[in-house]
């Protein structure tokens, strides 16, 4: 079955902007002072996605391994900035850890999928590698941000317990471990919930896109299953890595706990 791609005209595309009037009317009626945010978000959505489309057109035409890798690094940098933006106010200096976690966990899983499951040829085929990496990066950045937030909030809530553990001779990792375990559990929940709801409550994005683009629904379903499984693996890797590489930020080099009262925030 191949119905072909139904293109959207630019007139219809810009006409779809009217959908944002719903948000604008609600914001105006409730005086949410979010008119600027609505306009900026809409313009960013247009510009970023059209720019990505143009970039992919260029990449598909002139693809080379270094250009594809450069794009993936650029996407990982952007994902890092967005993840850090979601955990503002934590007084953390964790840029290298977040970038390393998001980049490595996403790329390891994306390359396994591209090489071992999709069998893309060449391995850097931008038509396969970039969209798959993009989907994994989107999920790992969300999971990483949630895990960081839960980890450090949890450690603050457990300040007295952490101090008690340390006083008994616990290492920082032993003292922080209940918070690490809780943060990992919280970070895994969204990916597992999405997998459980897939196909019943919602048709996930990739499958929808492929069906709309005229692909056989069974092929789209198989791709979607692989994508959900790889997202689960990548987010698990990311959550575990970010928790284990950052919890020490709340301890001094002499293993003293920096409780909220002692921090310079």
């Amino acid at each position: 079955m191949s119905a072909g791609v139904i293109d959207i005209g630019y007139l219809e595309l810009f006409g779809a902007t009217a959908f944002m009037l719903v948000a604008a009317v609600v914001a105006g009626a409730l005086r949410l002072r979010q008119t600027k945010a609505i306009v900026v978000s809409t313009v960013r959505c247009f510009l970023q996605l059209l720019a990505m489309g143009l970039l992919l057109v260029y990449l598909f035409k002139y693809q080379s391994w270094w250009l594809v890798c450069l794009v993936l690094v650029g996407m990982s940098l952007a994902a890092t900035q967005i993840a850090l933006g979601r955990v503002k106010g934590k007084a953390l200096n964790i840029w290298p850890e977040v970038f390393g976690t998001i980049f490595l966990s996403s790329m390891i899983v994306a390359f396994i999928v591209v090489e071992a499951i999709v069998h893309a040829s060449p391995w850097y085929d931008a038509r396969v590698l970039v969209p798959i990496s993009g989907m994994v990066l989107g999920s790992t950045l969300s999971a990483t941000a949630v895990a960081i937030d839960r980890l450090f909030s949890g450690m603050d809530v457990r300040s007295d317990e952490i101090a008690a553990y340390l006083a008994l001779g616990a290492t920082p990792r032993e003292a922080a471990f209940p918070s690490i375990r809780s943060a990992i559990g919280s970070g895994l929940t969204p990916a597992l919930a999405t997998m459980s709801a897939a196909g019943i409550v919602q048709i996930p994005g990739m499958m929808s896109g492929q069906v709309l683009a005229g692909a056989d629904p069974m092929i789209a379903a198989k791709y979607q299953i692989v994508v959900l499984l790889m997202i689960s693996a990548a987010t698990t890797l990311a959550i575990v890595a970010i928790c284990l590489t950052t919890y020490r930020k709340r301890f001094t080099s002499d293993a003293c706990f920096l409780s909220p009262a002692l921090r310079d925030e």
């Binding site: 007295d160 317990e161 101090a163 008690a164 553990y165 340390l166 006083a167 008994l168 001779g169 616990a170 290492t171 032993e174 209940p178 001094t252 002499d254 293993a255 003293c256 706990f257 009262a261 002692l262 921090r263 310079d264 925030e265």
Partner: protein, 227 residues
């Protein structure tokens, strides 16, 4: 020779965003088999001093010496195993009373130590007038006074060289506070020293009293020692 010694101790940290230096040159000695009470006005830095002695608060200068060995020759975990701080606010972890009493033996620093058996734990809780508390009882169901004693017994059970007790009897009634004092006295024998912060009238358990005031420490006699 002093069993435990602090020399020229200073700590400085930000407290709620404001620079705070409770003391800058504090020195004192503890002797084996003795209990010393630490008194002083509220905010004079008594708890900070105890935390600094346990290396739970980074010191900016000064030295800590245990049985002739400088604190820098121990890892923080090894030091805290020997110099045990018990906070005023009792903290228990999720689980039974037994889980809480055995918590120190679940840590890497004591991986080679043998944990006390149930008979030893029962003897310990009986000593603290907790006879009616079963080892299998959920720690979350304990009253405030029982929690305080379980947290205290957990530290006692580890037999540290130095016990630093930060108003551990604050939440206890007079009778229970007296039983804790007796328990402390029994534990502090020839191979242990104890420094206690107390806001209760002298209970006769302390061998001497130290006063921390305006960043200085001084030994005072028992007649002066009070609330």
């Amino acid at each position: 020779m002093a069993f435990f010694e602090a020399r020229g101790l200073a700590v400085s940290y930000r407290r709620n965003g404001v620079p705070f230096e409770p003391f800058s040159d504090v020195g004192f000695e503890l002797f084996a088999g003795q209990i010393a009470d630490l008194v002083g006005p509220s905010g004079s830095g008594k708890s900070s001093l105890l935390c600094a002695c346990a290396r739970l608060l980074p010191k900016t200068s000064g030295t800590l010496v245990l049985k002739g060995a400088d604190s820098t020759s121990f890892s923080p975990e090894e030091w805290r195993r020997r110099v045990c701080y018990v906070p005023q606010k009792p903290t228990v972890v999720a689980g039974t009373v037994r889980d809480n009493l055995l918590l120190p033996w679940s840590l890497r620093v004591r991986r080679n130590d043998e944990a006390p058996d149930d008979a030893a734990l029962r003897s310990l809780i009986a000593d603290a007038a907790l006879d009616d508390v079963d080892l299998d009882r959920d720690a979350a169901q304990l009253s405030g006074g029982e929690l305080a004693r379980v947290a205290l017994l957990r530290a006692f059970a580890t037999r540290p060289d130095v016990l630093l007790l930060d108003e551990v009897d604050a939440a206890l009634d007079d009778a229970t506070a007296r039983s804790v004092s007796r328990l402390t006295r029994r534990l502090v024998r020839g191979d242990t020293a104890c420094l206690r912060i107390r806001h209760r009238p002298p209970d006769g358990a302390a061998d001497r009293t130290l006063r921390l005031e305006r960043g200085r420490i001084a030994q005072i006699d028992h007649a002066e020692a009070g609330v």
